[in-house]
């Protein structure tokens, strides 16, 4: 072995080191003290696994090839050996893949003596490229068979069809099969397997100390046999150096945008309908958390979407902070729109969509799980904790990015996209298929895709979280978000400020109403469908109740309507206004009635009962705000003879208050580790270099200084040591000699430096560093030791 892993890293030029850090950003979180620490981290299981997760299918296969081609004795491989194994793929592609692995330091060392990082074997399948272990490792008799190539070939060719099918399946990988029954000896095996085992083409494997498997014993196909069976495709199986191109029907980007925009309006409308319904009739929070199935059905019906779509919109609204829980008595919580909902509703459709889309992209929820059953076979409810998936935002990004990387307007089938995703990062895509599907379904529902193609405005929304070269601090989601909203706004119909009033008392608003108009419509009409409203006697009465006059209403319709206001509407308003207030009601503390109007007039005029504030509301009825007892008392005192009556009820009319849950700020999590760029990256590299130099320098420092790191030199107390150091330094200032100084830096790390002291005063040592480039200042109390250079 020529050089260690760390040495190889150390010998890299800055750019290469920078490239490594860029490709594996987790290596510098936090920044390691020096390159050795970096090397340890780069070989750790976690970091290697993370790095592998980001690799595409081809690179992983080439890594498998590197593992397969390792020499048994030195565990080294070479570019040529890999090229030979991967013979069916173009050599150029293979070289590129090898370079990618080397840049990431999954493979390291010179091209003729490549080494696979040890952790790779730990975090990947024990069967590289789906091939079994070598025969001599498994079984001596199998090894003997494999050693005789001709006999092996004859045996394989002689295999009966059943056995051949088994062989082909195992050769395609994984090379291990379960027998589906407990091993009771060769007799119990199915005929084809038994034949194969008897011919030593398959080797039963029974690892010592392993619990018996419920699905029976395992058999393994030795590597040599597997490679023989794969002679058609090459030992690595079918190689795909290029991503599978989805056979995508192409949409006209304009019609995709248009369909998407239509869907955004629909999503916003449905969300609003859902939240309005919840405002009118809040849904209880289940004890296990989440929204009940019945409530979800109710919302789905109102919104006119299916339950899956409703679940998505409910989750998104919650993530966007439009929906929240509020206490409603002991042990009961309700889902209600938040105050933020009112703000949201006051903005334009594009903004409303933007808020939803952003929340959706970032929410750690997988709405597709709603309605499924969890592992305990209980249905998962919307907004319930069970639908929480931390990886959901990343899965969504991956899914949409895969679509974004295709040509504009490409609208591939979801299965094709999943195949592409699985090629791009097989390790990550495994187990995320449901999340990816969910992402595509959600994107279609929210209008992020239109006709299956990514819309132009959604593309802007996705772009924003990409690396931004001009800004080292990374991301300004606000800006790109605003761009997307603006782009969408161009596509959406302009808000409408007028309406068409018809003789059947319907009001048509041909487009999304302006906020002002929407408020007026809210008061004046009953909504029948998105653009159709109806004026009814009840809706006119409601308008009159909140202070509109008949003339205001006439004026409003005249102003807003593009068509002549039908005579029937005028009539309806006048009729309602005429009857409005025909009955009057109020509250009083007590009443006084008498058939004798004169008697009541006398009471009203009587100054002695003036404190009662009596008022005549009808010829025969007086009312007073005072309670009955007081009224009776005062009247009796004044010499009248009133008699009490059973009190009737009074009603108070007031406008019902809209209920809202307290506002919550939406949870928007950063989707992924920010990518380091430009100056920041250079800084990290430099920091590492410095650390490394320091460490290296420290290694050269005299033992006294080094020993001072951490504990005192035997025989000396810390104070004595410090005094000694001061003496050494004073001498050195005089001699202009170079001294090793051990000190504790501001992070508490102990470092050693070779410096030439210049002055020693005011509690500080000033010294040139060994290259004489700069003047350093050391606080004396931090200096632990000093030794003159030998």
């Amino acid at each position: 072995m020529a050089t260690t892993f760390a040495d190889q890293l150390r010998s890299l030029p800055d750019e290469a080191l920078g490239a490594l850090i860029q490709l594996r950003p987790d290596l510098v979180v936090p920044v390691p003290a020096d390159i050795s620490a970096l090397a340890v981290r780069a070989q750790s299981r976690n970091s290697v696994a993370r790095c592998l997760d980001g690799l595409d299918e081809f690179a992983l296969t080439i890594l498998d090839a590197a593992r397969l081609s390792r020499a048994a004795d030195t565990a080294l491989t070479s570019v040529d050996a890999i090229l030979e194994l991967a013979g069916t793929a173009p050599a150029e592609d293979v070289r590129v893949a090898i370079d990618r692995l080397r840049v990431r330091f999954l493979l390291h060392g010179p091209p003729e003596a490549l080494q696979v990082v040890g952790a790779v074997d730990e975090v990947t399948s024990p069967y590289p490229a789906g091939l079994g272990r070598p025969a001599d490792y498994l079984d001596a008799r199998a090894a003997a068979l494999c050693a005789d190539r001709a006999k092996l070939r004859r045996t394989v060719l002689a295999a009966p069809p059943g056995a051949r099918a088994v062989l082909d399946r195992l050769a395609a990988g994984p090379p291990v099969g379960a027998l589906n029954r407990p091993a009771l000896g060769p007799e119990s095996m199915a005929e084809p397997i038994r034949w194969l085992v008897e011919q030593h083409v398959l080797v039963p494997i029974s690892e010592a100390g392993r619990a018996p498997r419920p699905d029976g014993e395992l058999v393994e196909l030795p590597r040599e046999v597997g490679m023989l069976l794969r002679r058609e495709t090459g030992p690595l199986g079918v190689l795909r150096p290029l991503p599978p191109v989805p056979g995508a029907p192409s949409r006209d980007p304009r019609s995709a945008d248009s369909a998407g925009a239509g869907q955004t309006m629909e999503a916003v409308r449905a969300t609003e309908a859902i939240l309005e319904t919840l405002a009118a009739e809040p849904a209880p929070v289940l004890r296990t958390g989440g929204l009940g199935v019945r409530d979800l059905k109710r919302l789905a019906k109102v919104a006119g979407t299916d339950e899956a779509g409703t679940a998505l919109l409910v989750e998104t609204a919650y993530a966007a902070g439009l929906l929240g829980e509020t206490d409603a008595g002991p042990n009961q919580e309700l889902f209600l729109p938040t105050g933020a909902y009112d703000l949201w509703r006051a903005t334009g459709i594009a903004h409303r969509w933007g808020a939803l889309a952003r929340a959706w992209l970032a929410m750690t929820r997988q709405p597709g799980l709603v309605g499924r059953r969890d592992e305990r076979d209980r249905p998962i409810n919307a907004l319930a904790p069970d639908a929480e998936r931390a990886g959901a935002p990343q899965a969504r990004r991956e899914a949409l990015n895969a679509l974004a990387e295709l040509d504009t307007g490409a609208a591939p089938a979801t299965d094709d996209l999943l195949a592409l995703l699985s090629w791009q990062a097989p390790r990550r895509a495994r187990g995320r298929e449901a999340a990816h599907r969910d992402a595509y379904a959600g994107a279609a529902l929210l209008g992020i895709t239109g006709l299956g193609a990514l819309t132009s405005y959604a593309r802007l929304l996705l772009n924003d979280s990409g690396p931004d070269e001009t800004d080292p601090l990374g991301v300004h989601p606000e800006d790109a978000h605003a761009d997307a909203v603006r782009a969408l706004d161009q596509l959406l119909p302009a808000p409408v400020d007028h309406m068409l009033v018809q003789a059947d008392l319907t009001v048509i608003v041909p487009g999304p109403p302006e906020p002002d108009l929407a408020t007026e419509l809210d008061v004046l009409t009953e909504q029948e469908s998105a653009s159709v409203f109806r004026v009814t006697p009840a809706s006119v009465r409601r308008a009159l109740d909140i202070g509109y006059q008949a003339t205001d209403l006439h004026e409003l319709f005249r102003r807003r309507s593009r068509t002549p206001v039908p005579q029937t509407l005028t009539y309806l308003i006048d009729d309602a206004a005429r009857r409005h207030g025909g009955l009057r009601s109020g509250s009083a503390g007590s009443y006084l009635r008498s058939d004798d109007e004169a008697l009541l007039a006398e009471v009203l005029a009587d100054k002695r009962v003036g404190t009662l504030d009596l008022r005549r509301i009808a010829p025969t009825v007086l009312v007073s705000p005072r309670p009955v007892t007081r009224l009776l008392g005062a009247l009796r005192e004044a010499g009248y003879a009133p008699v009490a009556e059973d009190a009737g009820g009074t009603t108070v009319l007031s406008r019902p208050k809209v209920r809202r849950a307290p506002s919550r700020s939406p949870r928007i999590a950063e989707a992924s580790t920010p990518v380091l760029t430009g100056p920041r990256l250079a800084g990290v590299v430099e920091q590492l270099r410095r650390g490394d130099i320091a460490t290296r320098a420290a290694r050269r420092a005299p033992v006294t200084v080094r020993a001072a790191h951490g504990q005192a030199i035997p025989g000396l107390t810390a104070v004595q040591q410090h005094t000694q150091a001061m003496a050494v330094l004073q001498q050195a200032v005089r001699d202009k000699a170079r001294v090793w100084v051990g000190y504790v830096d501001s992070h508490g790390a102990t470092l050693s430096r070779l410096v030439r002291p210049v002055s020693l005063s005011a509690g500080y040592l000033r010294a040139e560093d060994e290259r004489g480039e700069s003047l350093h200042t050391f606080a004396l109390h931090r200096i632990t030791a000093a030794v003159t250079e030998e």
């Binding site: 449905a270 006119g304 979407t305 003789a503 059947d504 487009g511 159709v532 029937t568």
Partner: protein, 553 residues
């Protein structure tokens, strides 16, 4: 954004702005698949229903063209989900076919195996399907053809009926085109029907539906059973057939309450067919009385429910439905689709326009203010009597007279629901009354007098709702009705106010009492009228009576 005339809403309604320059083109494009629901003056509402889409599919339109026309005319981006839904719905028609297999007889064939398996498992089809012949074919009992189609429609997989028809007893019928010819769209309607085998032809009022029926008979050249709404309509059919075809008086039979003739061409009323004695339908034999080659249903949208049941057994005979609208008040459009057949022809709107069809009547609601005494008596009336009290207020009488006087040149009908009130009116206006108890002879005399103009004003009870052909009436005054029945309103309006030869405006007045339940019912009926596109307005009784306000009583 195309700025088109159409607003496509996600609840599958289409709003068509009538005044838009492209409105005509749009209307023609969407009429084949969308049903007109409301047609007030500015914005018409169409609805996309599965039936409408299947009808258009049966008529040869495909999903692509439907989606195209939606996108083309839509003012705003069309929700993607709606387009997907349209395409999926249309795709469901014709996945199953009813065929006549030479070996096995009637079979259900699935072009999509999975659909066939799905429907075969359904409990709703229990007993209708026979043995499975192969993966794609299941035998069907011949008698279940109609019910199977109904059930499949309910399951959402409407079957295409390709099983063919019996020819029936041949009978020579020819059109006698002397001095007239079938209009082109009539010929197209007949061709469309004949090619499809069975189905419904939708033509607007006055577009010559009877002629389409006659031409279909001339094509079939077979004995024909014609089902009509009432005797009057039946006689009209007979007149038309005698005038336009080679059929003679002896060949056409009338099967009604009065006469029971069964002849090569028989015209029967729905009423007689659905009349029961002792709970059993007594006239069902008519359907089996001859080997009918063609059954014609007039006014399919009014077809009574029992007729559907009989029709289910007539699936091997050719059926022609004629109507102006497929929308039924009882929502049984699905039964029309599965039992009579899909829509085979829909007149292009341009042709309707060419008819010069205009709103035939000006509808006016006259509101009278009750006197205080009347208001008080109304206020204390029991709930079930309130409408009668409000509707028969005496205050209405002078208003009615004022209205009659306003049209001195016209023939006026006064229609009401309460006999007491009608008698009062009769005395007040000095006009004769036709009511249920009036003898047929007396009725005929009065109607004749009305037709020849010697009688100017006629007071009618509920008998005015049906079976009266008084084309001379140009003014109708409705003083009371059967609560808020929209059907009644339509009948009164439609039957009495035929478009006049000289294009005179007809007038339809409704006199209602203000601030009573009468107004509410009127509002209900008004909404119906407005949705049908009738212009209507409200006036005060005082305006009718004119100043000075006459003293009432």
């Amino acid at each position: 954004m195309s700025g088109g005339p159409l607003i496509v809403q996600s609840d599958k309604t289409l709003l068509l702005e009538v005044d838009h320059p492209d409105a005509q083109a749009c209307r023609m494009a969407i009429a084949p698949f969308a049903e007109l629901e409301r047609s007030p003056e500015h914005v018409h509402t169409y609805r996309l229903t599965p039936l409408g889409l299947w009808n258009s599919r049966a008529a040869g339109h495909d999903a692509e063209s439907v989606v195209d026309s939606l996108i083309k005319f839509s003012r705003y981006p069309v929700p993607h989900a709606l387009l997907v839904d349209v395409a999926e719905t249309m795709d469901r028609y014709g996945r199953l076919q009813l065929l006549n297999d030479p070996v096995h007889g009637l079979v259900l064939r699935g072009l999509d195996k999975i659909v066939l398996i799905e429907v075969a498992k359904s409990k709703k089809l229990a007993g209708m399907l026979g043995t499975r012949i192969d993966d794609e074919t299941i035998m069907v009992h011949g008698s279940e053809r109609g019910r199977l189609k109904q059930a499949l429609l309910k399951l959402g997989w409407p079957a295409e009926d390709l099983a063919g028809y019996v020819d029936g007893e041949a009978h020579q019928i020819d059109l006698r085109e002397d001095g007239w010819t079938l209009r082109s769209y009539q010929q197209e309607a007949v061709d469309g029907f004949w090619a499809g085998g069975s189905g419904v032809v939708v033509l607007p009022c006055g577009a010559g539906k009877t002629l389409v029926g006659a031409a279909a008979m001339a094509t079939a050249k077979a004995t024909t059973l014609i089902l009509v709404t009432n005797t009057v309509a039946g006689r009209q059919w007979k007149r038309e057939l005698l005038a336009r075809t080679t059929l003679t008086e002896e060949e056409i039979g009338e099967y009604s309450g009065e006469r029971k003739e069964i002849r090569p061409v028989t015209i029967a009323t729905y009423q007689v067919l659905t009349s029961r004695r002792g709970g059993a339908f007594t006239h069902l034999d008519l359907f089996g009385a001859r080997d009918w080659g063609l059954v014609v249903y007039d006014e399919v949208h009014l077809l009574p429910a029992p007729i559907f049941r009989f029709t289910a057994d007539l699936q091997a005979r050719r059926r022609l439905g004629l109507t102006a609208t497929l929308v039924r008040e009882d929502g049984r459009e699905g039964d029309v689709f599965s039992l009579i057949g899909p829509k085979r022809y829909d007149a292009p709107w341009k042709d309707i326009e060419a008819q010069g069809w205009i709103a035939p009547a000006e509808c006016v609601e006259v509101r009278v203010t009750l006197t205080d005494a009347e208001r008080m008596s109304y206020a204390v009336t029991e709930a079930e009597e309130r409408y009668r009290v409000a509707a028969t207020a005496r205050t209405k009488l002078p208003v009615v007279r004022a209205l009659v006087d306003k049209h001195p040149q016209e023939q006026v009908l006064v229609i009401g629901g309460f006999l007491d009130q009608l008698h009062e009116l009769g005395e007040f206006l000095d006009a004769p009354i036709v009511q249920g108890s009036t003898t047929n002879k007396e009725r005929e005399r009065l109607f004749d007098a009305f037709r020849d103009g010697s009688l100017r004003t006629l007071v009618l009870s509920k008998v005015g709702n049906f079976s009266i052909d008084l084309p001379e009436a140009a003014v109708a005054i409705q003083v009371s009705g059967t609560f808020g029945s929209r059907q009644e309103e339509a009948q009164r309006l439609g039957r009495v106010l035929r478009p006049k030869g000289d294009g005179r405006q007809a007038h339809f007045y409704t006199v209602v009492s203000r601030d009573t339940i009468d107004t509410e019912y009127a509002a209900h009926r008004q909404r119906f009228l407005a949705e049908q596109g009738y212009a209507y307005k409200i006036v005060d009784a005082d305006d009718v009576l004119g100043p000075p306000i006459p003293q009432i009583d």
